[in-house]
Every structure is written in C-alpha cells, then in structure tokens.
C-alpha cells in the first residue's frame, strides 16, 4: 500500500463518519461542525489528486463561508424549537431501504466502472499531473476557454446577494412598519379617549361643508 492510498483511506474514513454524524445528530450545530470536518477531509483528498487550488477554494468557501452562514442562521433562529420535533420523517421505513438500494447501485458502478465501460488507463506523467491543478493552468483555462461562464458566475453571485438581502431583509422592514402602525393607532386611540372621541365626525362635517 503506497502512502497516498493510506492517507486517502484515513481521510475517507473520517469523511464518511463525519457525514453520517451530519445526518444523525439531533442538534443542527453539531451537524454543521461535522459537515466542516467532511469538507476539510475532502479538501485533503483533492490535494492528493493534484487539485491544490480547488482544495484551498473548497476550504475557504465551504468551511469559511457556507458553514459560518449556517451557524449564523442557527443563531438567528430558535434551534432548540427545531430539536423538539421528531428527528426522522414518517416515511423512514420506506426511505431507508431505498437509500441503501441506491447506495448499492452506485457502489456497484463505482467498483466495476473500469470493467464495464473499458475506460482507457490513466497514462499521464507525474509532471503533467502536478501541472494539472496549478493556479497558472487553471487561470489560463478560466480566462480563455471559460471566460463567458466565468463572467456569468459573477452574475450568479450578484443575483444571489440581491436575492438573499431581498428575502431576509424584507421581514424586518415589514415588522417595523407594523409596529409603527400599531403604535400610531394606539396613540390615536389614546388622544381620542382623552379628548372625547368626537374628532372625526367634526372633521368630516367641516370637509363636507367646505365642499358644498
């Protein structure tokens, strides 16, 4: 067993155990932490596969941004209320065997992929493999052949930003507006109660008289 296979097996074991913990934990905060563990192990495997830049990006975007976003969301919401519900769906009895069946299908394909499709053997030299995931190589490809998708990616991010602000920000404005209206109505009612409550009819008569 070569060292890289040993490292792969260790990382894969940690990743799978963490992934199982993600879906089995009761507390979503624990799930988020275990998801970060899975991501970091996957990034290690990416390094083994000569994808250093993608590994760094994966850690920065997933562990650094997305998991933190999850944790912020849990801070805003009442996570304990969510922990009170039953953890699993009613369809667990059917869904779990279906998931296992899909796993067996995928594993069967993964194990027999070479035999079934007759893929050509990997013949790239170690030097070419090391150059594969370099920032220079990726950047060149990204700014020549994939320029339009790259620009579209920035558009996607902008739309995501605007959409997130529009969705999450509107709630606050609405509730503030409602609070303001409620306060104004209470103030109005208070004024009416102290001044005899005959404000509106008088005004209405004055306006009607003015118009005629």
């Amino acid at each position: 067993m070569t060292p890289s296979i040993a490292v792969f097996i260790i990382l894969a074991a940690i990743a799978v155990v963490s992934a199982l913990n993600v879906i089995l934990r009761r507390n979503p905060v624990h799930s988020a932490i275990f998801l970060a563990f899975t991501i970091v192990c996957l990034a290690g495997i990416f390094v083994l596969l000569n994808a250093e830049f993608i590994a760094a990006t994966e850690v920065i975007i997933y562990a650094g941004a997305i998991i933190v976003l999850f944790l912020f969301t849990m801070m805003l919401l009442d996570v304990r209320g969510g922990m009170m519900v039953h953890q699993f769906q009613r369809q667990t009895g059917v869904a779990a065997p279906v998931a296992i069946l899909i796993l067996l299908c995928l594993l069967g394909v993964a194990i027999s992929v070479i035999n079934v499709t007759g893929l050509p053997a990997a013949t790239i030299s170690p030097g070419a493999a090391a150059r594969l995931g370099s920032v220079q190589n990726l950047g060149q490809e990204l700014y020549s052949n994939f320029l339009l998708p790259f620009e579209l990616a920035s558009l996607v991010l902008t739309v995501g930003l605007v959409g997130a602000i529009g969705l999450a920000g509107r709630a606050d404005e609405d509730s503030e507006e409602q609070q303001r209206i409620a306060a104004a109505e209470a103030f109005d009612a208070n004024i009416r109660a102290t001044e005899g409550g005959t404000l509106e009819p008088e005004e209405g008569a004055a306006v009607a008289g003015h118009h005629s």
Binding site: V156, G160, A164
Partner: protein, 102 residues
C-alpha cells in the same frame, strides 16, 4: 494515478447516498439543507477524480463553478429559511411548510 479511481468513486457514492438519506429521512430543514451540500461535495469529488484520471483540467473548472453556485444557493436558501421561520411559522420542521402542496 496513486489512488485508484474505484476508491474515489466508492467514497463519492457513499457521501452522495449519505446526503440523499439526510434529505429523505430528516425533518429539520437546516439539516436537509446541509445534506444537499454533502451531495454537491460528492459530485465535486467525482468530477475531480475523473479530471485527474484523464489528465484534463476541465473537471476542476467545473468544480469551481459548482462552488460558485453552491455559495449563491446557500445564501438564498438560508435567507428563505430565515424568512419562512420568522414570518410564516415558528418551526424548523419541514413538514410544517406545506402551503405549496398540490
């Protein structure tokens, strides 16, 4: 290649099925969302494994775009969850949000 392709595909299959099981088994919408991220990562691993296998950089480029879409998706999805839980029902149970049920 140092690590055999079959090992990588098997790990990807296990991670993908774990995410799938999380989506169809769990009730907590936050954990369902995290399971979706898990499935995205399984596909990322597969893309990089095949890209390394064929000595082609396009697999890594594709993973880059998947990361971009995942970031936007997480931002919008979490905003939807915050908005739902705050305005509509004070619950994290996915079964409670059945307004759009056909």
């Amino acid at each position: 290649m140092n690590v055999p392709l079959n090992y990588l595909l098997a790990l990807s299959a296990v991670l993908f099925t774990t995410g799938l099981a999380g989506v169809i088994l769990r009730r907590n919408i936050l954990i369902i969302f995290m399971s979706i991220e898990l499935m995205l990562n399984a596909t990322n691993l597969q893309l990089i494994a095949f890209g390394r296998y064929f000595g082609n950089v396009n697999g890594q480029i594709f993973v880059f775009f998947v990361l971009v879409v995942a970031a936007a998706e997480a931002a919008i999805g979490l905003a939807i969850i915050v908005s739902l839980v705050r305005n509509y029902k004070d619950s994290l149970n996915g079964d409670d949000f059945s307004l759009l049920k056909g």
